[in-house]
């Protein structure tokens, strides 16, 4: 059984496809969709059906009225990504999907931090804020709100810095991403 075949058959060995493999990296999927009701539900449903956890999700208009852009991040270490992207492609309202390469992508996220500060601490937080190019958008006697834009890493770093002061709450938009270079995302 299983004796090797001819050359051609052997050459097939090299074609061994990889399916269902976990990539181990975070995936940023940029999905161009028709701006129609229920599209988001259809997309989210595909992930939910496979028990996939969507880490972040943003939806917004594009330069064309009838189209919206969904940016969605999912952990490739936990979930095989290729089946779900193939299924996404099958949705009639989905025009384009790109699994963005991190090195070829500019990704940004907006976060708002409400930090408990008073007196002396305020200056310290403002100093950190400056280093991170954050903006103080609201101040009360015992708290302040800081707005930070940047990569996920940067926002997480900022969070680490201000948490010891007393983080009351934090909100993040999730990433939006666009590919580098001239070609469209």
């Amino acid at each position: 059984m299983g004796e090797p075949g001819t050359k051609e058959i052997l050459s097939l060995e090299e074609l061994d496809a990889v399916a269902g493999l976990r990539t181990g990296r975070k995936h940023v999927l940029s999905i161009l969709v028709e701006n129609k009701p229920g599209v988001l539900t259809r997309i989210a449903g595909l992930f939910a059906r496979r028990g996939f956890n969507i880490d972040t999700l943003t939806v917004g208009p594009t330069d064309e009225d009838r189209l919206s852009r969904i940016t969605l991040t999912v952990d490739g270490a936990l979930h095989p990504i290729d089946q779900v992207t193939k299924q996404l492609h099958k949705l009639v309202n989905v025009l384009k999907i790109r699994d963005l390469e991190p090195s070829d992508t500019v990704a940004r996220e907006l976060a708002l931090f409400k930090v408990a500060v008073d007196g002396a601490q305020r200056a310290e937080v403002m100093q950190i804020c400056e280093i991170f190019r954050g903006k103080v958008v609201d101040v009360t006697r015992r708290s302040m709100i800081v707005e930070i834009t940047g990569t996920t890493d940067k926002i997480e770093a900022f969070e680490k810095m201000v948490r010891p002061f007393g983080l009351i709450e934090m909100m993040r938009t999730g990433e939006i991403a666009i590919s580098r270079g001239r070609s469209e995302t």
């Binding site: 059984m1 299983g2 004796e3 075949g5 001819t6 050359k7 051609e8 058959i9 097939l12 074609l15 061994d16 496809a17 990889v18 399916a19 269902g20 969709v33 028709e34 009701p37 229920g38 539900t41 259809r42 449903g45 059906r49 290729d82 089946q83 193939k86 299924q87 492609h89 099958k90 949705l91 009639v92 309202n93 989905v94 025009l95």
Partner: protein, 558 residues
Amino acid sequence: MRAVDAVMECLKAEGVDVVFGLPGGANLPTYDAFVDAGIRHVLVRHEAGGGHAAEGYAKATGKVGVSLGTSGPGATNLVTPICDAMMDSVPTVFITGQVRTDLLGTDGFQEADTIGITMPIVKHSFMIQHPLEIPRTIHEAFYVARTGRPGPVIVDVPVDLSRADVPYEPVSDVHLPGYQPTTDGNAKQIRQAAKALAAARRPVIYAGGGVVAANASRELLELATADRFPVTCTLMGLGAFPAPHDQWLGMLGMHGTRAANYAMDEADLIVAVGARFDDRITGKLSEFAPRAKFIHIDVDPAEISKNVPAHIPIVGDARNILAKLAVEYRAQEADGARLEEWWQRIRAWQERHPLRYEDSTDSEIRPQRMVQALYEATGGDAIVTSDVGQHQMWAAQYFHFNRPRRWINSGGLGTMGFGLPAAMGAKVGCPDETVVCIAGDGSVQMNMQELATCAQDGIAIKVFIMNNGYLGMVRQWQELFWDKRYSHVDMGSYPDFVKLADAYGATGMRFTDKNTLVDDMREALATEGPVLVDVRVTQEENVYPMIPAGQAARDMVG
């Protein structure tokens, strides 16, 4: 014209000659339009019957089946046929009524979120939001349903919008920017596949329902006979390859032939066409065809490498690809003699392990014998539908299908109650054909009510109930894997099917003697109008051979 009249125009433009449906409050306008539309409407007794009838029609004719229901319960009754059509890729369009727009989301009378409920089980769905969208949407629905990998499409129409006055212009250009199915296979991949085939020593062609859907049977035969490639078909693919045939291995999978399953097990190259490596085919995935490389031809890219990694994937229309592959293969000028050893091995399996059963020594009818008798009585020339269970497997094993679209059953979803309404749909689509349904005594009761539809409309289906008084397949599993602790599988001898047939206005018959069975069946087939036959068979007979769930082909029993 009224939007609903525009709907009728669209249906006619799509070549729809019959729809199956049931009216209700939210589709009253649509039903008013039927009065003058000149489209045949078959009034079913339950929307599920209508949905399955649309499937039967679609599978028998290759055209899009259409089924209608009202809002709320009308739509939820369609859920099973919709899911069934999704699993078996049946081109169908479901048009459901919906409550008027100002009631949406308020728990209005007979309101159900049809689009939401059906979202995971449709190929696509449309919620009408403006009456002007209606004509184009209907055409888009048909286009999506029948192209690429076929499937069910829903159009949900709020009742107020369906009454609106709209200008109707025929729509001839359907363009969906996000939906462009691939039809041509990649030429390089096809050449690669031809080379692999030319080099293979132990090839098997594994054909599924996709070959039937793509009308690619002729091309399949052409490829298979371009050399002496052994062919096996899935439950859904039966008829795609003409059985019996010298190169035919029989069905594969859980209740397939040993020859087919062993051939898959030992193959060095498997050509999967329009098949999706279902768990009923593969058994234990890690031990499935361990020596094989896979060429996977499918119109749906998401099927490629879903369960089994494909070495040479070819995405596109099976008909197109098989034709090209046959040409490319011939160009390889491979030496046919290399398959000699393989065929010897296959012949040995076929001789040692034919499908067999022990016939009764008295007049008792073995279920397998019943299928053989029907094959004999029809001369094999019939469209056969089935329900789901033991009778379905025996029908698949013992009835030989020499043409596609002759075997109609529920494979993926495994819907009991599919057979009778599907036969009804098939008969409406192919009135000149003999249409028989091999039903189970459990299954048939799930959509029995359509017998009234058949009686009223003179739809002459012949239903043969393989009556063993049990939910047979469940009983078999309880016997084999649950220490024969029978739990709620005994259906007794209820109802009296002969009396029931009579009550429905059909002809009822009961057969109990194997010696006269073929003649009795001929008589049933010759009887006018719908006929329901209660065939009493051996009560505790098992379907063999069998790959126990989760095991490998090598572990076949029986």
